[in-house]
Amino acid sequence: MDHDILLEMRGCRQAYHKDSAADLVVLDDVNLTLRAGEIVGLLGRSGSGKSTLLRIVAGLLPPTQGEVRWRGAPLAGPAEGIAMVFQSFALFPWLTVQQNVELGLEAQGIPRAERERRAEEAIALIGLGGFEGAYPKELSGGMRQRVGLARALVVHPDLLLMDEPFSALDVLTAETLRTDLIDLWSEGRLPARALLMVTHGIEEAVLMCDRILVFASNPGRVEHELRVTLPHPRNRHDRAFVRIVDDIYGLLTRRAPTPGRAAPADETGLATPLHPVSTNLMAGLLETLAAPPYRGRADLPALASALQLEVDDLLPLGEALALLRLAELAEGDLRLLEAGRSFVDADTEPRKLLFAGALRTHVRLAATIRRTLDERWNHRVPALRFRDELEDHMSPDYAEATLRAVIGWGRYAELFGYDEDADQFTLEDQEVG
């Protein structure tokens, strides 16, 4: 047996059981081997199951199927030697920095003197010296995540799990923390033997990881595996670096669902999951795309950094535009389509008409809601009806997001209204026709 292998995951599948329909599959057939000495990144869109995978590794969630072996033995519940850093920091507001850091040691029943000594070491290592007595609410976001890191490192884990550890921080703070962490790692001062991190930042993944697993959504699965062999510290402007980032953008957008290719989850195509992106942002992006320097075609990484948008923000936007055939995504580029150009050139009212037309033609759910409303004598339909139908094909969260998307778009297009109190779609503000 390979002694460096820390964790092995074979054929893992995670599904939620729903009584009315088939199981909702969040993760499908995931295989993963983690060795000592490597940093592995799980990269994907929100909802691709990468956080779920991390929780399976942490022992917080048992997989529905498949096997996880930790240091050669089957994993059952949170294991010794695995520590976790949370996106939201997950600090206890009523405990001081020192007490927060000691928590994991306390759970192991380590005597007080040793606890204090080790906590102080970890605190000093992570650059928090002097803040031992502070409460989390007195600290900035970056300092709080340092506490989170110290709390994880103090147990000297073999495997350090990080769930989007920098995404709640501002750009500068995140960069500093990333650099500090990588410095400690390259100098061999980080008391952890392997790192597994979830991220939705492509550059972040390329900056930190030795290996990147690119996830596809619906159901979530590992679609590509990339090795990054650039030495640390890595330079974002390095040509090799830029090429890898471009490649990943290409991988992510190649799978972007377009109306023609999206595998229909049901016969009618009603239950296509939608991201609730604001029509304001869509209009803004179309205008930016039409204007110089892009003039109708933009490279996604460039667009993302110019607009300061993460992949998670930009891709859903691009996909919504692609779904409505206002623009198209291809090989890491976003290209304006004819309808999109007409939209940019039009005034408010014609824009709404154009949007309404696109919505009725390309979004089956919106068209169905409007048709049902037209048929009803009182022009009201309970939203529950559509929610139920959506939930037969997707998780309740997705169904809710899809409904929110269609409500927002329908309102903007003045295709239909929605009465929140009654949870009904209405035609009250619309001209009935």
């Binding site: 519940g77 920091f89 009523w94 994991g104």
Partner: protein, 579 residues
């Protein structure tokens, strides 16, 4: 973790200062008083001094002490109950499905009507001992305090932040460690606030439960409540005044020594990630934090509690839900649910059957109709009085809340009024009604909301003061005023708080009906037509079936009103008018 950590500077000097001396004397005095009071509860019931009372002013401090001790005993019991009950309800799905509705019903049981049953029970447990009476009184106070505390604890347990729960699991804290590290601290602000409210409400019941007549027997436990009862019997207005004064001092001490420090301290556990503006510490908390000897004692206590909390006890309270998978478990769970449901239904049916048989043996169906009519009378009184209180306190509270200087003055005064047991203030009303020959049907009604109306005012002021500054400014620049301002700005802003206050006030009013619809001044007895009077008279006659009937009808009324009126209103307010 349980007490404020010392600052680095204060670690260096440990010598006592002059405040320490005062504080030490204070603590020793409290201990001595406690021992003296405790000795009194162990006497046999027929010992001369056990239940004998005098109206001498010099005995009053001792009576006050006994009253206070009952209160604290009940609070300790409530806290234990809260931890056990809420944990069970939150961790076991089946238990929760039964316990939470049960809590809702228990909350609606008129405690004073129930008293006669508990006395019979506890006297049976400790025959011939005053301890039985004491326990009955403590139990009555407990029942007035425990439910809302258990409920708020349950709510916190079901809304624990997911990431913190995952952190405790990932770092492998045991169930015991998680309870003290996460669950209790997270519940702390809500729990402390409800403890404090419960204590405030409890003074009413501690006073009411000290002097009890059940059939031929009358018991008086040494305490302020029975002192007042004796004074009423002997038509001694001066003694009543003294009792009111003593109670006032007790409440003042409670407010300053416990209420304020506890609420300020619990702010430390508020689940917020940003540092907010902090109000200055109440003086007692400042004393605790700055007085060296006291602080060391507090630190020691804190460290001990922390050590207990970090013991690696692993009580597997919760079934390991995370490892349920596969269909057979689900099917087994369903079968279990059905069996559990059937068992509960069978027990409930049995209880209903027993109650019906018990009551039907003594009471005719026609009387049930009469009792329902009496309940309607009481309902009318409660509705009118809550309506009147709202008409007065809504505008007053909204107005006060917009004036920070006045709010600062008014809040403590109202907290004091809400805690003050209104039943001590009944005698002047009764004397007035007797003197002017007024109709008790009308003039006894205000007594029902005498104590509980303050919850409306208190909540409205707090909500009005909390109206976001930008909204107030926006309303100003839009030049909203008069009715429009009231309807669009103030009313939505205070609605949720008003509903909360009104629920407390009306619940309290139903309870108070039992002592407010009947009154006595010496030999003159006044009674209004209503369910409260019915229960009170049945209690006096020791007529258990009628007490049971009256209490049951009252519970049904309160529950139905809660479900049909207050719940929907609160849900609406929460949905539409929260920021």
């Amino acid at each position: 973790m349980f007490l404020p950590a010392p600052t680095a500077a204060s670690r260096t000097r440990r010598l006592p200062n002059q405040w320490d001396l005062a504080a030490l004397l204070f603590v020793l005095g409290a201990l001595a008083a406690f021992a003296h009071g405790a000795a009194g509860t162990l006497a046999p019931i027929d010992a001369p001094e056990a239940t004998h009372l005098s109206l001498a002013a010099t005995d009053l401090p001792y009576y006050a002490l006994r009253t206070v001790m009952r209160m604290f005993a009940a609070m300790a019991a409530s806290l234990l109950f809260t931890f056990a009950f809420a944990t069970l309800a939150a961790k076991s799905r089946r238990a929760g499905a039964l316990l939470i509705p049960l809590l809702d019903i228990l909350q609606s049981v008129p405690i004073l009507g129930f008293l006669s049953f508990t006395i019979a029970f506890f006297m049976g447990l400790f025959p011939g001992q005053i301890l039985g009476l004491e326990l009955a009184a403590i139990f009555a106070i407990f029942t007035s305090q425990a439910w809302n505390m258990a409920f708020v604890m349950y709510q916190s347990l079901t809304t624990l932040p997911q990431d913190l729960v995952e952190a405790t699991r990932a770092y492998r804290l045991t169930a015991w460690q998680r309870f003290w590290r996460l669950e209790v601290p997270f519940a702390m602000p809500g729990l402390v606030w409800n403890m404090v409210l419960s204590m405030s409400g409890g003074w009413f019941f501690v006073v009411a439960s000290e002097a009890i007549t059940l059939g031929d027997a009358t018991w008086r436990l040494p305490g302020i409540g029975s002192y007042v009862a004796l004074a009423l019997e002997q038509r001694d207005l001066g003694a009543i005044g003294l009792a009111v004064l003593a109670m006032g001092l007790v409440i003042l001490a409670y407010d300053q020594l416990i209420f304020r420090p506890l609420v300020a301290w619990s702010g430390k556990f508020r689940f917020e990630t940003t540092a907010g503006a902090n109000a200055p510490d109440p003086w007692v908390l400042a004393l605790l934090r700055r007085t060296r000897v006291l602080r060391r004692a507090a630190e020691g206590l804190g460290a001990a509690l922390t050590a207990i909390g970090s013991l690696r006890l692993s009580l597997r309270l919760q079934p390991s839900r995370r490892h349920t998978r596969g269909g057979s478990r689900v099917a087994m769970g369903r079968a279990g649910d059905i069996a559990f449901g059937l068992a509960v239904a069978a027990l409930a049916g049995l209880a209903l059957w027993h109650l019906t048989v018990y009551v039907a043996a003594a009471v005719s169906w026609a009387e049930l109709g009469e009792v329902l009519v009496l309940a309607l009378f009481t309902l009318l009184r409660v509705a009118v009085m809550i309506g009147l209180a709202s008409v007065i306190w809504l505008p007053a509270g909204a107005w006060l809340g917009r004036r920070p200087a006045l709010t600062r003055l008014a809040q403590p005064a109202i907290q004091f009024l809400a805690a003050f047991p209104a039943n001590l203030l009944f005698p002047p009303f009764v004397v007035g009604i007797v003197h002017f020959g007024l109709s008790p049907e009308i003039w006894l009604s205000p007594l029902m909301v005498l104590g509980t109306q303050w919850y409306i005012l208190f909540n409205v002021i707090a909500a009005s003061a909390a109206l976001p500054g930008d909204l107030a400014e926006a309303a100003g620049t839009l030049r909203l005023s008069g009715w429009l301002w009231w309807r669009r700005v103030m009313w939505p802003a205070i609605l949720p708080a008003y509903v909360t206050g009104a629920i407390t006030a009306s619940g309290g009013a139903w309870n108070a009906a039992i002592v407010a619809e009947v009154a006595a001044w010496g030999d003159t007895k006044l009674a209004a037509t209503g369910l409260g009077a019915y229960i009170a008279q049945a209690t006096e006659a020791g007529d258990f079936p009628r007490i049971a009937l009256g209490v049951a009808v009252m519970v049904v009324f309160v529950v139905v009103i809660n479900r049909l009126l207050w719940r929907p209103l609160a849900a609406f307010a929460a949905r539409r008018a929260t920021f």
